[in-house]
Symmetry: C2
Subunit: 310 residues, 2 copies
């Protein structure tokens, strides 16, 4: 397997910064790709060992291009996640003053996060979208625009300076990234894990989705993400991308997945992996009988009953 | 109230075509706005009677800019919906042949719907995004690009011809649009209605979302859309935009909404309005005791009990 990771490029974006926080990235060649699709395809055809792409954003929600790629096509699996706080710097050519700025640029995804700042500080500046934040910085270097919103780390690479840093409209603006590879045995349980799956309902009827979620709820499993995505079969036809607390080797999670496998048209397992926030899943006292010990104890009891040893 | 409708412009896009299918549009002045936000703000400040914007797409799912606008800010209400089938024409300057086309343009939302067609028929053409499909057609007229994907209806307006029509990657590619106004009494029940709401959970615990959906399921109400949207309070914090079959004046729906009001942190009512597909909601025999007659009969019985007349 080639020792390289594909990632959503170009170089000098938040994705590269997030990828470099993974210890294993230091021993791999990191290759930028022009799109999420091309990065994941590089993994599918064996050009790269894994791909690193954004999957969820606290301002925009689930990143649909990534979810749709994981939902369809040759199955892939998530092995790691990284959470990165996103704040922007306003990058300009050295010597530019705030009052000189007539045009600003950045990737369209940056716009909702800098909109209020712009309204207050540069109400008359014209916004032009760039292919990426790094590309916006390059266009400022070339003189096409006066200023770019990008990570502060991009300033040095493009010979720019940060006129302002720490720009963000929403407190706690974070993006979640995942490392995706070909299916293999999931990483071992850490005690603070997350399991990602995609569910397709057998048919559409009152209570259908409620019944699917019941497979988690009756086993005391908390959900962290539920994002509906169109199946392509017309308005109103959705599958569900779900992140749930726990690891597939946990009894509670294994049971929930078996229950879903029985009642769903299709279930795609997207992986069990350590939570970036390292918080162990919490089983609430609200649901008595759902502690890990009780799950193990109940399995022992059934096994003893089956042996006539109860 | 001014007799004008704001809509997501510019002129000559699918939004305008969809708006003109509404009989009431014939008696209003139709004014294009540059964004969903500005169209809805025109209603909020009383500049327009209502705004007409896309809200759901069978390829891309819920249109997040519209949902986020309805979720936040001064409350608005949905009064009508329109479903429009979306197929693209490839528009060129008269005389252009397929082999002449080096560059193509359209709104980014068109790309997933024409991607396969492009790969087959114009594998080497360079894609450049336009601000709207109509704007793409204008840029072809000006000679900036060789071809634009747009509605066939845009050809005449920009002096172009359709080299190919009926282009779509997904069968049944449809977009759903809504007419949004200031809150008032919902339109009367037609028997084929839809109710839209936004739910915020009190807290995040195992089974929390399942319990919310249970308010619909136990009353035999089918859901048509469930789209999670970030609350802005960080990764993992979502509210839920829900479309459910039925009208707020139906007993079943009124009961479900009361149940949600009791258990949710917040419920925003976005309106009850006729379904564009005119299909009456189906109550499945699977859920005995949930016919309209049974709801009315049960209410009568409780009233009689309260009077000691059972």
């Amino acid at each position: 397997m080639p020792a390289s990771y594909a990632y959503l490029g170009p170089e000098g974006t938040f994705t590269e910064v997030a990828l470099r926080t993974l210890p294993e990235a230091a021993t791999r060649e990191l290759i930028p790709y022009v799109s999420v699709q091309s990065a994941l395809d590089a993994v599918r055809v064996g050009e790269a060992e894994a791909a690193f792409v954004p999957i969820e954003n606290s301002v925009e929600g689930g990143i649909t291009t990534t979810l749709d790629e994981l939902v369809a096509g040759t199955p892939l699996m998530i092995y790691r996640e990284v959470l990165l706080s996103i704040t922007f710097a306003l990058l300009v050519r050295p010597g530019t003053k705030l009052s000189d700025i007539k045009t600003v640029t950045a990737h369209p995804a940056a716009q909702p996060q800098v909109r209020n700042w712009l309204k207050t500080h540069l109400p008359d500046a014209v916004w032009e979208s760039a292919a990426s934040n790094a590309d916006g910085a390059r266009l400022v270097q070339e003189g096409r625009y006066d200023a770019a919103f990008a990570g502060e780390f991009a300033a040095a690479r493009y010979g720019l300076e940060a006129l302002e840093t720490g720009i963000h409209d929403a407190e706690n603006a974070q993006t979640r990234f995942v490392l995706v590879g070909r299916p293999a045995r999931p990483a071992a349980r850490t005690g603070a894990d997350k399991t990602s799956i995609v569910l397709w309902q057998r048919d559409d009827h009152p209570g259908g989705l409620r019944d699917l979620l019941g497979e988690f709820a009756t086993r005391g499993i908390n959900l962290m993400l539920l994002q509906s995505r169109p199946t392509g079969a017309g308005i109103g036809n959705y599958c569900f991308c779900i992140d749930a607390e726990g690891h597939i080797s946990d009894r509670r999670m294994a049971e929930a997945l078996m229950g879903l496998k029985r009642i769903c048209l299709q279930v795609r397992f997207l992986g069990s992996y350590p939570r970036a926030d390292m918080q162990p899943g919490e089983v609430r006292p609200l649901f008595p009988g759902t502690s890990d010990e009780e799950f193990v104890g109940a399995a022992d009891w059934v096994a003893r009953c089956q042996d006539g040893r109860f």
